[in-house]
């Protein structure tokens, strides 16, 4: 198990795509957190208490919402897709499977590697996002005094979101075994498929769809509690149920299907 995990971690960090995606996440954060939230803070609509940069909650409310968090985390999820899909694209799966005495161990090693990477990535986002926003304001000589930042809930929510999104990426790659199809699904599911399904459901039922629930983990209950909304914790449980079910299907299919 340790050998497989070590191998998976080396796979992650020995291809340039990992660093390119990390760089793209950094570029996004530089644009959004440094430039939009920080540097252009005074260009925002001042009528809204929370988006007014004089508010004590300004940085937290701008940085900690899904609009700021989900795009960089998406890059982390793509890294997870690549870890699995490259095995099929380049046929290295035959080496991976013949070196291990159990396919379950192989799959678990991939899951642990992705989890580890998602945690690192979440920490990267959690440290850089607010820092870049503060830096942007500082560079523009805008006051950042008296900011209230709920570090603990920001830390936990982003960590969960990063882990869940990356796990979804891994699962899609296991199901599709094709790089393009898995990445297309990763983009289409939240912006096209799930909204279409939402049309068939009531507002209350929509909260139980996986990507809606993921967004709710980040957004719900931050500063303003929403009416009839699932709490972030309950949304996280909804996400976990989906992940467990799809993991079981993925595990079964990984054991039963031919290697590639």
């Amino acid at each position: 198990m340790g050998a497989s995990l070590k191998s998976e971690l080396r796979k992650l960090f020995s291809v340039r795509s990992t660093y390119i995606l990390l760089g793209l996440a950094l570029v996004y954060m530089a644009f959004y957190d440094f430039f939009i939230v920080g540097f252009r803070a005074n260009a925002k609509h001042h009528g809204d208490f929370f988006v007014n940069y004089h508010s004590h909650y300004y940085i937290f409310s701008e940085v900690a919402r899904s609009g700021g968090i989900s795009p960089p985390i998406l890059f982390c999820s793509i890294v997870a897709v690549l870890l699995m899909a490259h095995e099929y694209r380049y046929n290295t799966i035959m080496y991976t499977l013949t070196a291990s005495n159990s396919r379950s161990k192989t799959l678990l090693a991939k899951f642990l590697a992705v989890t580890g990477f998602a945690i690192l990535f979440a920490l990267f986002v959690e440290i850089l996002s607010p820092s870049l926003a503060v830096l942007g304001m500082h560079v523009h000589h805008l006051s950042t005094t008296g900011q209230v930042f709920f570090y603990k809930q920001f830390f936990v929510r982003v960590l969960f979101y990063s882990w869940a999104y990356s796990t979804i990426g891994l699962l899609l790659a296991i199901f599709f075994r094709n790089l393009v199809a898995a990445i297309a699904a990763l983009f289409l599911l939240p912006v096209a498929i799930e909204p279409l399904i939402s049309l068939l459901l009531t507002t209350n039922q929509q909260q139980y769809l996986p990507f809606n629930a993921m967004t709710a983990v980040i957004d719900n209950g931050i500063l303003q509690p929403g009416a009839n909304q699932l709490s972030a914790l309950r949304s996280a449980l909804v996400v976990i149920v989906y992940l467990v079910v799809f993991w079981l299907i993925a595990w079964f299919s990984f054991l039963k299907r031919d290697a590639n």
Partner: protein
Amino acid sequence: MIKASNLTKNFRKTTAVDNISFEVANGKVTGFLGPNGAGKSSTMRLMLGLDNGGGKTTYDGKLLHTYSRPASVVGVLLEAKAFHPTRSAQNHLKVLANAAGVSASRVDEVLDIVGLKEVAKKGPGKFSLGMSQRLGIAAALLARPKYLLLDEPANGLDPEGIVWLREFLKDYADQGNAVFVSSHLLNEMAQMADNVIVIGKGKLIASTSIKDLVSGGTKSTVFVRSSNQAKLQTLLKDKSFAVRTKDGGLEVSGAKTDQIGKLAFESKITVLELAPKNASLEEVFLELTEGKEEFAAHVAGENK
């Protein structure tokens, strides 16, 4: 010893591997021959547990997944280009070394063995087919396995590389290991392999030594030159052997040298030259697999 029993693989309505059983002996190079689409790669994948199908394969009596470190039991090369194109050759092998529980220093050793030390830090995406094969062979050797399963390892190798591979595999087998290698280069296989397994359309056709295979082919003949050609020809024909004159002697089909020698001695004919002339592996292969090709080409104008 590798023992494959009742290997079977179906793809929907097609049977790719049809209840094949054979053994791969230790200390020998065993060639695996068959026309395109005969099921060679599918058989190898079944042997490694990569595909789900019928039958089982044991390595020294145990299934591969029952070993704690399967990579130290069997080294695999199924496809030359099985690597990430931008991950360096060295890192590619380090990934595999990690998975196999092998120290990183072994990576440099195998790169040296296959002659890729100079390009260790380069991405293999731009490697030639021959260099890719060498990298694949390096991967197979990483954990010093007792068995090697190699699918077409000589493809793309230059003549020097082919000679190196032949000597290397023979030497590897001489150390008590078993090498199971498929190839379309029949002349190469004839020089390299001790035993051979031939399949066609998923079925086992032959499993024997190269020596027995070529001597048993119907195209094997005996050349004899004697003091009385006409008399000897008549005697041989009387024994129902096919005889034709060739190069100042007789070419006899279906007879062994000792039969001809004895017949000549009893008839007081002096034998001047007596030599078996075995069919080439290629001739025997074509003879064995005739009608068992999945994809057969036709000469222009030939009736199909």
